[in-house]
């Protein structure tokens, strides 16, 4: 039971990290990043592949973050000067292309079979509960670090600027600032966080295949930040927890109702996420815990 709870908590912490990155992009700056899973994927494959060569994980996590950021940069350069929804399309396309690349470049990624045998982090702690607990603590520490960094950003002139861009881009332009430049910086930062999350994911799950990085994951994260309330750090974390309860709950449902097969469950989960996206945008755009005074 403890092992199960720790496992769920680790996945939740990885999702929370993704949610924090997206929260910075959408919640604070208004970037419609529909390709978050692409950066996650880059981080995961970088860490997974570098682990095959025995490169220590701090280095591979860093490389994953840098590569994800480097991938985000040209994307932002091309599309963030244009209207918002163009970036949504481009980022969605980007995540699909990342998946195509890791599927096709067999020499590097082993194609659909994926990278297997990614070692667990801090293996010297043995096979008991200590090792996953240590990973969980590390993840929580990283989450707190990112959240604190975000708090600092919010209170800085940079933070005021990106929130101003979200609220009224024209006014920012009228003040002689260049919104695109700030947006690109935010995109790159959020992508780097997603890259780190990918590193944790690869080491925790132990294998990575392209199928793990479908756009649905992106919208899980979107769901989490919308449920929790857009733009709030507590919202990102709370939303992730609610999302995890729904997803783990649906896993139990398979055991309880025998007529629902695994594939059917995948469809039901897709439908639930779809319905939730529609209902939240229709009736509670500020989220369950959202700020009622703003927007």
């Amino acid at each position: 039971m403890e092992a199960y709870l720790v496992a769920v908590a680790i996945i939740a912490a990885i999702y929370a990290l993704l949610a924090l990155g997206l929260n910075l992009q959408y919640g604070l700056t208004g970037l419609i990043n529909f390709g978050h899973v692409g950066f996650f994927c880059i981080g995961a494959y970088t860490a997974g592949l570098m682990a095959q060569y025995g490169i220590p994980w701090p280095l591979s996590f860093l490389s994953g973050a840098v590569l994800a950021a480097l991938a985000a940069w040209p994307l932002g350069l091309v599309s963030l000067k244009l209207r918002d929804d163009y970036f949504a399309i481009v980022s969605l396309g980007f995540s699909e292309v990342v998946r195509i690349v890791v599927t096709s470049e067999q020499w590097l990624t082993n194609g659909v079979q994926g990278v297997t045998g990614v070692p667990k982090l801090m293996r010297f702690l043995g096979n008991g509960l200590t090792q996953p607990l240590a990973v969980l603590n590390l993840l929580i520490a990283v989450n707190i670090l990112v959240a604190l960094a975000k708090l600092r950003i919010v209170r800085s002139p940079f933070g005021r600027m990106i929130e101003a861009i979200r609220d009224n881009e024209e006014a920012v332009k009228a003040l002689g600032k260049d919104p695109a430049g700030f947006k690109i910086q935010v995109l790159v930062l959020g992508a780097a966080v997603a890259g780190v999350a990918g590193g944790f994911y690869a080491h925790y799950i132990g294998y990575i295949v392209p199928e793990q990085f479908v756009p649905l994951i992106t919208f899980y994260i979107w769901m989490a930040i919308i449920i929790g309330g857009v733009g709030r750090i507590s919202g990102a974390v709370a939303g992730t927890l609610i999302l995890m309860i729904i997803m783990e709950g649906s896993r139990f449902l398979v055991d309880v109702i025998p007529s629902v097969s695994g594939v059917k469950m995948a469809s039901i989960r897709l439908g639930v996420i779809g319905l939730a996206l529609v209902l939240f945008t229709l009736y509670r755009p500020q989220g369950l815990l959202g700020d009622f005074t703003r927007r």
Binding site: A88, L92, V97, F219, L270, G271, L277, T281
Partner: protein
């Protein structure tokens, strides 16, 4: 050389499918002002409905017609249940809701029809040989269907009162409203039109390849790319860009491999956004 000619014909066929999907996207983008991510899954739904309808009626033509009607109904239902309430909200809200609608459609399709690949039971016909180039008679039928669809769409858009109202709303919603055009009636017509066009695109795509719950979603990126390449809100541009992109994808397959086909539309999309974000065919103001 003949291999290339056959690739070219195949490219034209998939280009028509991309073009029709892009037409549906550009109509909604031009009038309701958001990129409708549910277009792909509306294609899937149309293909499945047409498949079951032709199995029941025994006629692919009647099946396809029922598929198109179901697509129109799906479009109107999506408008009535979701997008009508989001009118006037940001395009992000509409876009997110359209992703939700897309997932919902795919979930329903998956639960009802399963995940196995399915195919239309088309009669096997010996291909024609013209100058040594093989031409499938089925392709010709599909081209005729596409031509009829396009003719119908353009007649509706440019020669009927409802089409004129649609174009008026696309041009300037405020001005259209003060001229006494009811936005909701225009929207119902728009969604019916967009739904049936996506559905027909799905049926054609299903006839050319196989039908899976993922098929429409996979066409979304090329369709978006074509809609932007053709200039948002520009129906003729969407068709031309779709045909161009589809042909490019098929012609490039021998060089880049099958899996990278979709990636080509992404590269084209980036180049267009970089060099000419208003699209190839669009007038100066564009939708930037």
């Amino acid at each position: 050389m003949t291999a290339f000619a056959e690739l070219f014909i195949g490219g034209l066929m998939s280009g028509i499918v991309v073009g029709l999907a892009a037409l549906a996207i550009t109509l909604v983008f031009g009038i309701a002002r958001f990129p409708n991510a549910a277009t792909g899954d509306a294609m899937t739904a149309g293909a499945y409905v047409a498949l079951s309808a032709s199995a029941v009626t025994g006629s692919t033509i009647i099946g396809g017609l029922i598929g198109a009607l179901a697509g129109a109904a799906l479009g109107v239902a999506a408008y009535a249940l979701v997008f009508r309430k989001l009118a006037g909200r940001s395009s992000v809200a509409n876009l997110l809701a359209s992703i939700g609608v897309a997932f919902g459609i795919r979930a329903v399709v998956g639960l009802n029809f399963g995940y196995q690949q399915q195919m239309f039971q088309l009669p096997l016909v010996r291909p024609w040989h013209v100058l040594g180039i093989r031409i499938q008679p089925n392709d010709l039928d599909l081209a005729v269907v596409a031509a009829i669809t396009l003719a119908a769409v353009f007649i509706i858009l440019y020669a009927t009162p409802v089409g004129r109202r649609m174009r008026a709303v696309a041009d300037d919603p405020g001005l259209a409203q003060v001229s006494g055009i009811s936005p909701s009636r225009v929207m119902v017509a728009l969604w019916a039109l967009a739904g049936s066009v996506s559905s027909i695109a799905g049926v054609m795509y299903g006839m050319k390849t196989v039908i899976t719950p993922e098929m429409g979603w996979n066409m979304l990126l090329p369709a978006f790319a074509a809609a932007i390449l053709g200039g948002i809100g520009h129906p003729i541009g969407a068709i031309c860009a779709g045909v161009l992109l589809g042909t490019l994808q098929e012609m490039a397959t021998p060089f880049v491999g099958f899996t990278y086909k979709i990636a080509i539309s992404f590269v084209v999309l980036l180049i267009v956004l970089l060099l000419r974000p208003q699209g190839l065919f669009s007038h100066a103001e564009g939708a930037r």
